[in-house]
């Protein structure tokens, strides 16, 4: 169970190796990587990730702990970057390791759904002709709510 907030890039392979680190009880590992996407055919210069430093780590830890309580996990990890990121850059990752694939998949989705609505990050897209804050989606709240049943 680990959470990191950083400006630097990360290496998914290295992170997964560290996460599992010789633990032979693990039967399934699920990873997700979020990437800066240009939907404008080359007009996106960068995506700026702003966050609330005093709150971010604690918010991510709360989400991570909720997943650990709900599913059988050997380990889990959330890394989220901040700063100015180029199209194609990695924004964040989650990884879950479990004896069984169902737990690993569900926990990874849960982490993503809660992270989207509860972790204090904001995205701003910088285009050649101006900048725009990315709006939140009602669908993200709905995605989170399905875990409340």
């Amino acid at each position: 169970m680990a959470v990191r907030v950083q400006a630097e890039d990360f290496d998914l392979g290295d992170e997964v190796s560290k996460l599992t680190d010789g633990n032979t009880d693990i039967g399934a590992i699920v990873t997700f990587v979020g990437v800066v996407r240009d939907t404008t055919n080359g007009a996106l210069l960068s995506m700026e990730l702003e966050h609330y430093p005093a709150m971010t780590k604690q918010a991510l830890e709360t989400i991570d702990q909720a997943a650990a309580k709900r599913w059988s996990l050997n380990a889990s990890m959330i890394i989220h970057r901040y700063g100015d990121l180029a199209p194609g850059a990695q924004i964040m990752m989650v990884a879950t390791a479990s004896p069984h694939r169902k737990d690993a998949f569900e926990a990874a989705e849960f982490l993503m759904d809660y992270l989207k609505t509860d972790a204090p990050f904001w995205k701003k897209e910088n285009f050649k002709d101006g900048a725009k804050w990315v709006g939140s989606k009602a669908a993200d709240e709905d995605a989170k709510d399905r875990w409340k049943a």
């Binding site: 992270l115 989207k116 939140s136």
Partner: protein, 84 residues
């Protein structure tokens, strides 16, 4: 009268024109504070005109608009999160 550190993020920060300030207020709740700031200057009114798209945290915990300010040190205003 209480003294609060108030912090703003994303477009709330841009509309108000600063990231952090100290506010002296008689407000008892977040709603009171929003009304008081909005009455002070237009830039606050602009940021707070639609509170359905503004989230609030007291001392780094998300709260509702009717949350009391008793014992609060830091109040944060920001749009719904868009991380991930």
């Amino acid at each position: 009268m209480i003294k609060l550190d108030v912090v703003y993020f994303a477009w709330v920060r841009e509309r108000i024109g600063l990231a952090k300030e100290q506010v002296e207020t008689e407000a008892k709740t977040i709603n009171d504070l929003v009304a008081e700031l909005s009455a002070r200057e237009e830039r606050y009114q602009l940021a707070f005109q639609d509170m359905s798209v503004v989230k609030v945290a007291i001392d780094q915990t998300l709260v509702s608009l009717d949350a009391p300010l008793d014992g609060a040190k830091e109040v944060a205003f920001f749009p719904p999160m868009t991380g991930g």
